[in-house]
């Protein structure tokens, strides 16, 4: 599974942004216009799509696209 492509697709759909904006450095809140509740919904979507549980204290660290991908790759491989 191409985790990066799937993550990008989820972010585009959930946050209503262009795929080109979803760079590894992009912060969900500062660059992609998410608010705190959007980030919770995004984490929920990751959990559902990848069938994993992301603990609240781990979720708090997933502030950028890159950090989210890195975390998911580590969990899934």
């Amino acid at each position: 599974m191409d985790i990066k492509a799937k993550v990008t697709e989820i972010i585009v759909e959930e946050l209503g942004v262009e795929a080109s904006e979803v760079t590894l450095e992009a912060s969900f809140i500062e660059d992609l216009g998410a608010d705190s509740l959007d980030t919770v919904e995004l984490i929920m979507k990751f959990e559902e799509e990848f069938n994993i549980d992301i603990a609240d204290d781990e979720a708090e660290n997933l502030t950028t696209v890159g950090k989210a991908i890195e975390y998911l790759e580590k969990q899934l491989n």
Binding site: D35, L37, V40, E41, I43
Partner: protein, 331 residues
């Protein structure tokens, strides 16, 4: 247990205090904005109890309307269940105080503590008593005066709550009555009991000068963590009753969920794949009145003609505990 009788909703009523606090009023009290509150919560205003109004006063007003709608007399009531976390006194129960106000006695009256799911817990209990043939007309009330236990310095919580009461009469249905309770599911996950809590004032942390100074007698909430749990637990409660009754979500005429946050209501609706037009929302007017949100929304929807006799209605809630639950009925 085989069902002897069926329960139904025979009357609804609501009451909110006269005083209204808008988002713009809140801008003057704490560091917040109307825009922030609206986009995060969907709330525009909330009603606030006056200094001399307690929970039983609100409950009494809503009860009079429900009794009138049910076309019964006060003395026909044979049980009172009040769902609240902001009762008149630590004890006795608000239900007993309400009995006194209504001039009736000689039957069970008690409060339950299930946070914002309280009214659904009460409805589920009422359902059992009616179905067993033990009671005929049960008064259940979701009522809160949360604005008296709010930390007005915490901008993350003080904007979220309002005061109000919703009363409902649950009666034994006639044999040919299409109105009836169909099913209900309750749950709780106590591992998260500390996410939404009034810490002081009980036996764990009795009132002292320090607890007062540290604002520990007010509502403490970790909203973001509850958000996820709220959507999942309400979805699960709805999914269980739909599946258990072989119903598709499209057969539901109306969905009323606890009015805590517009974003939670939208996320749940999306997950359930229910038509937006079937989702009843009044959060903009009353904010989160905890146990009162569902019976208030139900009463409004009945009185404005949205919910009609025979409609299939699904209710879902979640709250402190963390509790959750659903109720499926035909109006």
């Amino acid at each position: 247990m085989s069902i002897k009788y069926y329960a139904k909703i025979s009357g609804t009523g609501m009451y909110v205090p006269d005083k209204v606090l808008t988002n713009f009023d809140l801008e003057k009290i704490v560091d917040t904005t109307d825009e922030w509150i609206r986009t995060r919560t969907g709330m525009s205003e909330r009603h606030i109890a006056s200094k001399d109004q307690a929970v039983s006063d609100l409950a009494y007003e809503a009860t009079l309307k429900a009794i009138e709608a049910a076309r019964i007399r006060n003395k026909d009531i044979d049980m009172i269940i009040v769902a609240t976390v902001s009762s008149d006194h630590a004890f006795p129960s608000t239900a007993c105080i309400l009995q006194q106000k209504l001039g009736i006695r000689g039957f069970p009256a008690f409060d339950i503590s299930a946070g914002c799911t309280g009214w659904i817990y009460a409805a589920n209990i009422a359902k059992q008593y009616i179905e067993a043939g033990i009671a005929k007309n049960i008064l259940i009330i979701g009522v809160e005066v949360l604005t008296k236990i709010i930390n007005w310095k915490d901008r993350g919580t003080c904007v979220l709550f309002g005061d109000g009461a919703g009363a409902t009469i649950i009666s034994r249905a006639g044999e040919r009555d299409i109105s009836r309770f169909i099913d209900s599911e309750l749950s709780a996950d106590g591992t998260h009991y500390d996410l939404l809590i009034q810490k002081a004032g009980g036996s764990r942390m009795p009132a002292t000068k320090e607890t007062l100074e540290e604002n520990l007698h007010t509502i403490y909430m970790e909203g973001n963590k509850i958000f996820k749990n709220a959507i999942r637990s309400m979805y699960s409660a709805c999914d269980i009753v739909l599946k258990r009754n072989n119903l598709d979500v499209h057969s539901i005429d109306w969905l009323i969920t606890h009015q805590a946050n517009m974003r939670i209501i939208q996320a749940l609706g999306k997950k359930l794949k229910i038509d937006n037009k079937k989702v009843i929302v009044n959060i903009e007017k009353y904010a989160n009145t905890s146990a009162a949100t569902i019976p208030i929304a139900l009463d409004e929807a009945v009185r404005n003609g949205k919910i009609r006799h025979g409609d299939l209605v699904l209710l879902a809630s979640f709250g402190a505990g963390l509790t959750s639950g659903s109720l499926l009925f035909r109006m």
